[in-house]
């Protein structure tokens, strides 16, 4: 699990769903959740939360400019790469802390990823969970 600490900046609710904007070290991350400030006590502006997402849900893009629907984009450089037969574990150094991504070994080869490569870690809004 990747766990980042942040603060709820804004909440946009409609019926059952809410999009929550979290400030993590001045980077803005968004999460969509089936809950509203009415149904869950800890969705309040200014509330400190943990932003949680799984390594396997972190997409890696080479460079920093992508036209893509992903809302959560975090720039960083590769700190280490550890490859098995099928999968590689990539640790990134970013402004919000270290982020771990697990992607296929093929992808690493195709993109020519190596240590110190400048990349963007991307996480879909619906892959992010929050916890107190």
């Amino acid at each position: 699990m990747n766990i980042l600490k942040g603060k709820i900046e804004n909440i946009n609710s409609n019926h059952q769903l809410s999009i929550i904007y979290i400030n993590v070290n001045n980077n803005r991350l968004t999460a969509i959740i089936i809950d509203t400030p009415k149904t869950s006590k800890y969705f309040k502006r200014g509330k400190e939360v943990q932003v949680i997402f799984k390594e396997t849900e972190v997409i890696i893009g080479k460079g920093i400019s992508h036209q893509i629907s992903m809302q959560n984009k975090i720039e960083g450089t590769i700190k280490s790469i550890n490859c098995g037969d099928l999968l590689c574990k990539i640790t990134l150094k970013t402004a919000v802390g270290d982020i771990v991504s697990i992607i296929t070994s093929n992808a690493v080869k195709q993109l020519g990823l190596e240590k110190n490569t400048l990349v963007t870690a991307m996480i879909k809004t619906n892959e992010i969970m929050l916890s107190e």
């Binding site: 969705f43 098995g84 574990k89 697990i102 619906n126 892959e127 969970m129 916890s131 107190e132």
Partner: protein, 291 residues
């Protein structure tokens, strides 16, 4: 409120064990005694019920002394006005379901309560049957109903649900919660099942080797965490396999087996038999109708 401070030397298969429990139980709360088998949970419950006499200590219930060994006070179970559900249900085999309930009546007590309980526990069709013809879940309902006939202030249940299968368990949890609220009971139960405890209890007292090792709300005792993912299950780790920097965990969740991938540092700290929370975003699973 129950103030408990009891001590007793128990002789178990593994040798002598010193049971020492000091705790308080709030009125109208539902409290679970949790711990490995042989930790002293049942003995503790039996001492509160007056079925076992402690070597020393005291039990005070709403300001009244039930037990005070130094002052030679120890009320017999008959005088404690409690409901007790035994692990083997202890239904009287010579009586029908209705007779079991009627036997529990106090002298001059209004029989109305019998009808009320038969209603609540849906025993209408079973009332003329003998206990030996009932299933485990049905026996449990009768035992629960019988324990409430005298309108006790404290209800104690010794592993009420452990012998039952998953669906019946769920239904009975519901019954217990319902009567706990409706009859304004202080309920003390024994359970091994963390998800059950999280769902039902206000307080957990964890015993190990006769001592209270942890007590508090279920969240704090079990290091519980709430995720916003909307899918949150508790399961038991039944297999751990390592592949490269990943761990593949096999979990039993209720009656289902699921496989989950975990990161290295998560997998390293897990052992077979551990209870874990499995959380996921509500957006991920796909649904397929089967029935």
């Amino acid at each position: 409120m129950i103030k408990l401070n009891i001590q007793k030397t128990l002789t178990a298969a593994s040798g002598k064990m010193n049971l020492h429990v000091k705790t308080t139980i709030e009125k109208y709360s539902l409290v679970t005694l949790y711990g490995k088998s042989g930790a002293g949970k049942t003995s503790c419950l039996r001492i509160i019920a007056g079925l076992l006499t402690p070597d020393s200590g005291s039990i005070e219930v709403d300001g009244k002394l039930w037990t005070h060994i130094d002052n030679n006070i120890n009320l017999p179970p008959q005088k404690r006005n409690i409901g007790f559900v035994f692990q083997d249900y202890a239904l009287f085999p010579n009586m029908t379901v209705a007779e079991n309930l009627r036997f529990a009546l106090n002298k001059n007590q209004d029989k109305k309560i019998i009808h009320e309980l038969i209603e609540i526990f849906e025993l209408g069709d079973l009332q003329f049957k003998k206990p030996e013809t009932l299933s485990g879940g049905q026996k449990q309902r009768v035992a629960l109903a019988r324990s409430l006939v005298q309108k006790p202030s404290i209800l104690m249940l010794d592993e009420p649900l452990s012998a039952l299968d998953y669906e019946i368990r769920h239904k009975l949890q519901h019954y217990i919660l319902q009567v706990h609220k409706e009859y304004k009971l202080t309920t003390i139960l024994i359970s091994h099942d963390i998800s059950e405890i999280l769902r039902m209890s206000d307080k957990v007292i964890e015993l190990n080797q006769g001592k209270v090792v942890k007590q508090g709300t279920p969240d704090t005792v079990f290091n519980y965490k709430e995720f916003s993912g909307n899918i949150q299950l508790t399961g038991i780790v039944i297999a751990i396999q390592k592949q490269d920097f990943l761990y593949i965990l096999t979990l039993q969740i209720g009656k289902d087996i699921v496989k989950v991938v975990a990161n290295e540092n998560e997998g390293e700290n897990l052992f077979i038999g551990d209870t874990v929370i499995l959380a996921s975003q509500a957006f991920n699973p796909v649904i397929h109708k089967i029935g």
